[in-house]
């Protein structure tokens, strides 16, 4: 009896549906994406764009791709949006429980092991490409995790469809002696390079700076790409009292109830049973 993993019982049926019944397979929402991570002198900086695509359409122009694994361990995700969100969510819960049972603050490499073991079991079918970064009591860590379960540990990482454009910026700008401001600026430029040059990435820039016992999340630090030129000037909220009241009717919601003897005896019958 198969335990765990995927259940392929419906595979035959799905193949027939597509071939004979012209069934239209629904498109998965992907996070086209540019995600980036850089290690600097005091910690790590994670960056991401905010565009979620469904084929050639932008499904969400301002989604959050940097997920919380624990207070000082965060993870940016590329690939299928459902896979990245649920995988990071699950491992976050597992890590919390582990940390409570061991009585120790969680380590980045624990999250790494949990994630890679989970993804490997599914042989790449769970399409989650992750950039995991954080600072624990052993220092700053930055890892990349591929959908098949392989991992790399590097000082600078980029993943997603915009990773080539971002990597070009990282390769020219990275040096091992960077401080916080340099690292933030480099990550920002790398994400911007992805947003401008890759069609699967777009929207705003999100940044996350993690240092020892400190985390700063800069949501939408750069919105120059989503400033619409023409905006409706008036807001959609209307002051209370703007709409004229023509008629008022007040009805009692409930009639007063009377307790009848019949109902009491019914209850007694039930209690005997």
């Amino acid at each position: 009896m198969q335990k765990g993993g995927f259940n392929f019982d419906l595979y035959q049926r799905n193949v027939e549906l597509i071939e004979k019944n012209n069934y239209k397979v629904p498109k998965t929402t992907k996070t086209g994406t540019t995600i980036v991570g850089v290690v600097f002198s005091d910690g790590v900086v994670l960056g991401a764009d905010t565009r979620a695509t469904s084929g050639p359409i932008v499904a969400d122009p301002n989604c959050e791709k940097i997920h919380r694994i624990s207070d000082y361990i965060w993870c940016a995700g590329a690939g299928t949006a459902a896979d990245t969100e649920n995988t990071t969510g699950m491992i976050s819960l597992q890590l919390e429980l582990l940390s409570l049972s061991t009585g120790r603050s969680p380590r980045v490499r624990t999250a790494l092991t949990l994630l890679k073991n989970f993804l490997f079991r599914y042989h790449g079918y769970i399409s989650a490409a992750l950039v995991l970064g954080g600072v624990d009591f052993t220092g700053p860590h930055l890892h990349m995790i591929h959908p098949h379960g392989s991992t790399s540990t590097l000082p600078y990482i980029s993943m997603g469809s915009g990773s080539l454009a971002a990597m070009a910026v990282l390769e020219t700008g990275y040096n091992s002696k960077m401080g916080e401001e340099d690292a933030k600026s480099l990550v920002h430029q790398a994400i911007l390079s992805g947003i401008l040059n890759d069609l699967g990435s777009g929207g705003n820039v999100d940044l996350c700076v993690i240092k020892h016992k400190s985390m700063e999340f800069f949501r939408n630090i750069d919105t120059t790409n989503s400033k619409r030129k023409f905006r409706k000037k008036l807001p959609y909220m209307f002051k209370s009292g703007s709409t004229k009241i023509l008629e008022k009717q007040i009805k009692e919601k409930m009639e007063k109830m009377e307790i009848v003897n019949e109902k009491e005896s019914q209850i007694e019958e039930l209690e005997e049973l």
Binding site: V39, S41, D42, T138, G139, P140, H141, L142, T153, L154, P155, Y156, L164, A165, M167, A168, V169, E171, T172, Y174, N175, S176, Q189, S193, L196, N197
Partner: protein, 227 residues
């Protein structure tokens, strides 16, 4: 049954060609590698060649097809020379005319399902201005101030787009090209650290001998977990 007599897939290939306009002209750059799949087979080929005194072409893709294109264009130049000498044509062919002619040749071949498997950069000086553009194996014609082919489109173009300014200085243009070539050496498997630069100004064409560019490997010393 007849055997297939057309290009099925590229065999000996060249990687990216980059081009950037600057104040006095244009500079093209490429490495000197002809890959045989994953083998670095021919380590000193010329993927940027002069066609006339004022025009240069650079090729990505199947190297034999690039040699064929060079032959076709040089033949066209000779034909045109004969017409000039007999008074039927005004002057030598302009870069934009060569570019246009090449796009028709490549489009014609694609229509016969037998393409010349290349992405060609055509650059030159005409009427006091620079002309630069590409044509690819599908026959797509494109002109711009910054050009990249092959993997250069993914790695070099974002960097060139950031750094490019109209009428930039020669040194700045060379610096941008060197940065892009270095990134390509780090991230494109089918490259080597040996490059040729071709500079075209109103004086003419100047193609350098192969040079090596320094690369940084300090991340080899990086240790995880150390602040």
């Amino acid at each position: 049954m007849q055997p297939k007599k057309k290009t099925l897939r590229p065999i000996v290939t060249g990687s990216s060609v980059l081009g950037i306009k600057y104040k006095d002209g244009v500079i093209l750059a490429s490495d000197t590698l002809g890959s045989y799949g994953s083998l670095a087979r021919f380590r000193d080929i010329r993927r940027i060649v002069p066609i006339t005194k004022h025009t240069v072409i650079g090729g990505t893709g199947e190297f034999s097809d690039f040699q064929e294109i060079t032959k076709i264009l040089r033949q066209k130049i000779i034909e045109n020379q004969e017409l000039v000498e007999s008074g039927k044509e005004e002057d030598e062919l302009l870069p934009s005319e060569i570019h246009s002619y090449l796009s028709r040749v490549l489009y014609g071949r694609r229509n016969k399902f037998n393409p010349l498997w290349n992405d060609v950069v055509v650059a030159g000086f005409e009427k006091g201005k620079v002309h630069m553009g590409t044509v690819d194996l599908w026959g797509s014609y494109f002109e711009d101030d910054i050009i990249a082919t092959g993997y250069g489109t993914y790695f070099a173009l974002p960097l060139m787009r950031k750094a490019y300014k109209k009428d930039m200085e020669r040194d700045k243009a060379l610096e941008v090209l060197r940065d892009c070539l270095t990134v390509l050496f780090y991230r494109d498997c089918r490259t080597i650290n040996r490059y040729v630069f071709a500079e075209i100004t109103k004086e003419g064409v100047n193609i350098t001998d192969p040079v090596e560019i320094e690369t940084k490997w300090e991340i080899a010393d990086w240790q995880e977990g150390k602040l």
